[in-house]
C-alpha cells in the first residue's frame, strides 16, 4: 500500500497545444493518503479516464510527476507499479475455476501453493465466493464475475493501490447497492488505497471519503460529500452534485453588496474583491423557501415526487428551482423567494469568492 501523489500533471493527446481545450487534463495536483477511499467524479469527457490511465501507467503524461510513497514512478510500466485495476466489465479467465482465477496472480509470482490456499480462502470468504470456489468462473453472474476481478486485486499483498473504472456498469440496478456496500465494507476491513472512477454521483459519494470532481480536464473541487453539497467551490460542482442541481443566477457586486434581480441579498461570505468578468450567485433548491418578500418570481410548474415537490419558477434573470415539502402549499402566479444566507454563495468566473 502506498500514498499516491500527483504533481502538476497535464496531458494532451495532441503534439502541440495552443489553448486550454487542447489538454485532456491540466494542472492536476493530488495527495492521496495510504489506505484512503477516493473517487474521481465527472461527466464523460472530463479527463477522469485519462487520469486513471496515467496513474496505472498506460499513458505517459505530457507534464508532471507521479509519486508512490514520495518516490517518482513516472517511468515504470503498469506491472512494475503494482496496481490492481477493476474494469467496467468483468475480466475473468473463462476456462479456470473461481479458485484458479483468484490464485492466478499469486501463482504467476511463484508463491508456494500452501500460502496461496490460505490467502484465496480468506479473500473468497470476504467476497462471499467460498461456495463457488470449485465452479467454472464463466458460469457466474455479472456481479459474481466482478467480485472475482476484485478478488484478484485483493489477494496480492504487494498492491500499491486498487483502481475501479466504473465497476458497476454491467450490474443489475437492484444488485448495485449490495456490491457497493460490499466494497465499502471491504475498504473498512482491509484499509488499502482505493480509487474509484465514475460519472455517478451516488456511487462516488457513497464509496469515497474524499471525492475529486473533475470538469473539462481540471479538478474543480476535492472534498467530503458534505463539503461538495453544502459548499460547492465551483458552479459545476453545484450543478453536478445534487438533483436537481444548484441554481445559478447572474448578480452584480457593488461594494460589499450582492444584487440579484435588483434586490440586495445576503450571502455566506463577505465580498472583498470584484474584478471578475462574470459574477453569479449559487443556491441549492433545498435552501430556498417562499416568503412575503425577496426575489420576485412567477411559479411555472410543480411536480410532486411523493416525498417532496419540485417547483419551477422564473425570475427576471433566469429559472429558479425550489424543493418544498410534499405537504407544503405552493403559491400560484407571483411569489417571493428567500435564500438561506449560510448556503448562498457568490461565484466569480465560476469559482467561489472567498
Amino acid at each position: 500500500m502506498a500514498k499516491v501523489t500527483l504533481k502538476g500533471l497535464s496531458h494532451s493527446y495532441l503534439k502541440t497545444q495552443s489553448s486550454d481545450a487542447d489538454w485532456a487534463i491540466r494542472g492536476v495536483d493530488i495527495d492521496w493518503n495510504d489506505g484512503g477511499a477516493y473517487a474521481l467524479l465527472g461527466p464523460s469527457g472530463c479527463g477522469k479516464t485519462t487520469l486513471l490511465n496515467i496513474i496505472s501507467g498506460l499513458i505517459t503524461p505530457t507534464k508532471g510527476d507521479i509519486l508512490f510513497d514520495d518516490k517518482v514512478i513516472s517511468g515504470l510500466n503498469p506491472v512494475e507499479r503494482n496496481i490492481a485495476q477493476i474494469f467496467q466489465f468483468p475480466v475473468i479467465y473463462d476456462t479456470m475455476t473461481v479458485y484458479d482465477n483468484l490464485a492466478f496472480p499469486l501463482r504467476n509470482r511463484k508463491i508456494p501453493e500452501e500460502e496461496i490456499k490460505v490467502k484465496v480462502h480468506e479473500i473468497a470468504e470476504m467476497l462471499e465466493l467460498s461456495s463457488t470456489l470449485n465452479n467454472r468462473a464463466s458460469g457466474l453472474t455479472a456481479d459474481g464475475k466482478q467480485k472475482i476481478s476484485l478478488g484478484r486485486g485483493l489477494v496480492r499483498s504487494d498492491v500499491n493501490a486498487i483502481m475501479f473504472d466504473e465497476p458497476l456498469t454491467v450490474i443489475d440496478p437492484h444488485l448495485k447497492w449490495i456490491l457497493r456496500s460490499k466494497l465499502k465494507e471491504l475498504h473498512q476491513k482491509i484499509n488499502r488505497t482505493m480509487i474509484y472512477v465514475t460519472h455517478d454521483q451516488t456511487e462516488a459519494l457513497t464509496f469515497a471519503d474524499q471525492v475529486v470532481v473533475m470538469h473539462e480536464g481540471q479538478i474543480v473541487q476535492t472534498g467530503t460529500p458534505v463539503d461538495l453539497f453544502e459548499k460547492p467551490k465551483h458552479t459545476f460542482v453545484g450543478y453536478f452534485i445534487g438533483s436537481p442541481g444548484m441554481n445559478v443566477l447572474p448578480c452584480q457586486i457593488k461594494g460589499n453588496d450582492v444584487i440579484v434581480n435588483g434586490k440586495k441579498i445576503e450571502t455566506h461570505q463577505q465580498i472583498k474583491k470584484s474584478n471578475f468578468n462574470k459574477t453569479e450567485v449559487g443556491v441549492r433548491p433545498e435552501f430556498i423557501s417562499f416568503s412575503n418578500e425577496g426575489i420576485p418570481v412567477k411559479v411555472l410548474s410543480v411536480s410532486n415526487t411523493g416525498r417532496h415537490k419540485i417547483v419551477d419558477t422564473e425570475s427576471e434573470t433566469g429559472k429558479i428551482k425550489i424543493i418544498a415539502k410534499s405537504n407544503e402549499d405552493i403559491p400560484s402566479g407571483s411569489a417571493f423567494l428567500k435564500f438561506k444566507k449560510e448556503y448562498t454563495y457568490t461565484y466569480g468566473d465560476s469559482w467561489i469568492i472567498e
Binding site: 461527466p43 447497492w177 460519472h199 457513497t206 450543478y239 438533483s243 410532486n304
Partner: protein, 354 residues
C-alpha cells in the same frame, strides 16, 4: 383520440406474457407503464403499435377496431432505449426520414425539421452524423424523428435508460412539455418510480404481465390498491413488516415496538408498508416511532442519504434529507412517521393508508 385495449391477452406457447388486460389511454398526457424488466411493458407496447398481435382481445383506436392492422398502416412512432438512428445520414436527414417516405414537399420538410430541431436543441448540429454526437444528442435526434411526423401514437420504451444521470434529469424535464399540445397518445415505459413521478400524467403499475393499477400518477403512488402496486411504485423498495393489531394498539411481530392507531379495522394480523422516506434520522410528523438499526451501508446521493440497516431479522431502508456518512456496522436510532404507514390485509389488499 383514444386507445383502448379490450381483454387483450398474449401467450407464447404455454407461457402467458400478458394476462387479460383492459386499459383506456388518454391523449394530452403521458401514459406511463411502470414495472421491472420482463413485467411485460415492451410486449404491451408492441401490441399497441401493431408490431405484435394479441392472442385474444381487441385493440380499438378512435372507436375503431384496429386489431391485426399492420404497423405500416397505422400512424405510430417509437423511440427505444438504444439510440437508433441511421448512421450514414446527417441529423437533418435522420429527422426528415419519416416525412420523405410520406411524400411531403421539401419546403415543408425543411420547415418542420427546423421546428422540431429547435424544440430539441439540435439546431446547431443538423449537418453532423450521429456518431459525432453525444449520447444525449443522439437520443434527442431519435426523439425528434418520432415527433416530426404527426403520429397518432408515440411509444417511448425506456428512452432515458442509457443516458448519464445529469442528461437524464435534463431530458426528463423537457419531455412532458414536448407532448403538451399534441393531438396524440403518448405511452412511456420505465422501470424507475421516480421517473414516473417526475413525468406526472397517468401511471399503470405492471408486474409479471398483469396491470395492477392504473390512474393519475400521484393517486397511484399515494393510494396503492395492493401491496404489489405499492412495491412496484417505490424506489428504493418499500419496507414491509408483519404487524398485529388489537384494540388501538399495533405492534410489529418481530420486535416489541408498539404504536397507537385510529384504524377502524378488525383485530388481527396485517402487513404494513413503510416508504423509505418515512424512516429518517430525525423526527418528522406528529407521531413518530423510534427504531434501532445496525447499518449495512449508507448511500449518499447529492443531498439525500439512504441508510440500509437491519432490525430484528429484517433489512430496512431509510431515506433522509442531508448527508449522513455511517460506517458499516454502526448502531443508530431512526424515526418512523406512523401517519404515513400503509396497511394491507393478509391478502395484500389495501385496508388503509395513514
Amino acid at each position: 383520440m383514444s386507445l383502448e385495449l379490450k381483454n387483450v391477452e398474449k401467450k407464447i406457447g404455454l407461457d402467458t406474457h400478458i394476462y387479460s388486460t383492459n386499459l383506456k389511454l388518454e391523449k394530452n398526457t403521458i401514459n406511463i407503464l411502470l414495472g421491472s424488466t420482463l413485467a411485460g411493458k415492451t410486449t404491451l407496447m408492441q401490441i399497441m403499435a401493431g408490431l405484435d398481435k394479441p392472442t385474444s382481445g381487441e385493440i380499438w383506436f378512435n372507436n375503431k377496431n384496429v386489431t391485426g392492422m399492420k404497423v405500416q398502416k397505422r400512424n405510430v412512432s417509437m423511440v427505444y432505449q438504444q439510440f437508433i438512428n441511421y448512421p450514414n445520414f446527417t441529423v437533418y436527414d435522420n429527422i426528415a426520414s419519416p416525412l420523405k417516405i410520406t411524400g411531403v414537399s421539401s419546403d415543408e420538410i425543411k420547415q418542420r425539421v427546423g421546428k422540431v430541431a429547435e424544440l430539441l436543441k439540435l439546431s446547431g448540429m443538423l449537418n453532423k452524423k450521429p456518431n459525432e454526437l453525444s449520447g444525449g444528442q443522439q437520443q434527442r435526434t431519435a426523439l425528434a424523428r418520432a415527433l416530426v411526423k404527426d403520429s397518432d401514437l408515440i411509444l417511448l420504451d425506456e428512452p432515458l435508460a442509457n443516458l448519464d444521470f445529469k442528461l437524464r434529469e435534463e431530458l426528463r424535464e423537457e419531455l412532458p412539455k414536448l407532448f403538451e399540445n399534441r393531438d396524440c397518445i403518448v405511452v412511456y415505459a420505465t422501470t424507475e418510480p421516480s421517473e414516473a413521478l417526475l413525468l406526472g400524467g397517468n401511471t399503470a403499475t405492471l408486474q409479471e404481465g398483469k396491470i395492477i393499477q392504473y390512474g393519475k400518477t400521484l393517486d397511484t403512488y399515494n393510494k396503492p390498491n395492493s401491496l404489489v402496486s405499492a412495491q412496484v411504485f417505490s424506489d428504493p423498495p418499500m419496507n414491509i413488516a408483519k404487524i398485529k393489531k388489537s384494540g388501538d394498539q399495533c405492534s410489529f411481530l418481530q420486535n416489541d415496538i408498539q404504536w397507537k392507531t385510529r384504524l377502524n379495522i378488525k383485530d388481527g394480523e396485517y402487513k404494513v408498508g413503510i416508504r423509505p422516506h418515512n424512516i429518517t434520522t430525525y423526527k418528522e410528523g406528529k407521531n413518530t416511532l423510534e427504531i434501532k438499526g445496525k447499518v449495512l451501508i449508507s448511500e449518499i446521493s447529492g443531498s439525500e442519504s439512504l441508510i440500509h440497516f437491519t432490525n430484528g431479522n429484517l433489512n430496512w431502508v431509510s431515506l433522509s434529507n442531508g448527508v449522513f456518512q455511517k460506517n458499516v456496522g454502526d448502531e443508530m436510532n431512526l424515526y418512523m412517521n406512523t401517519d404515513e404507514f400503509v396497511y394491507f390485509d393478509q391478502n395484500e389488499r389495501l385496508v388503509s393508508n395513514g
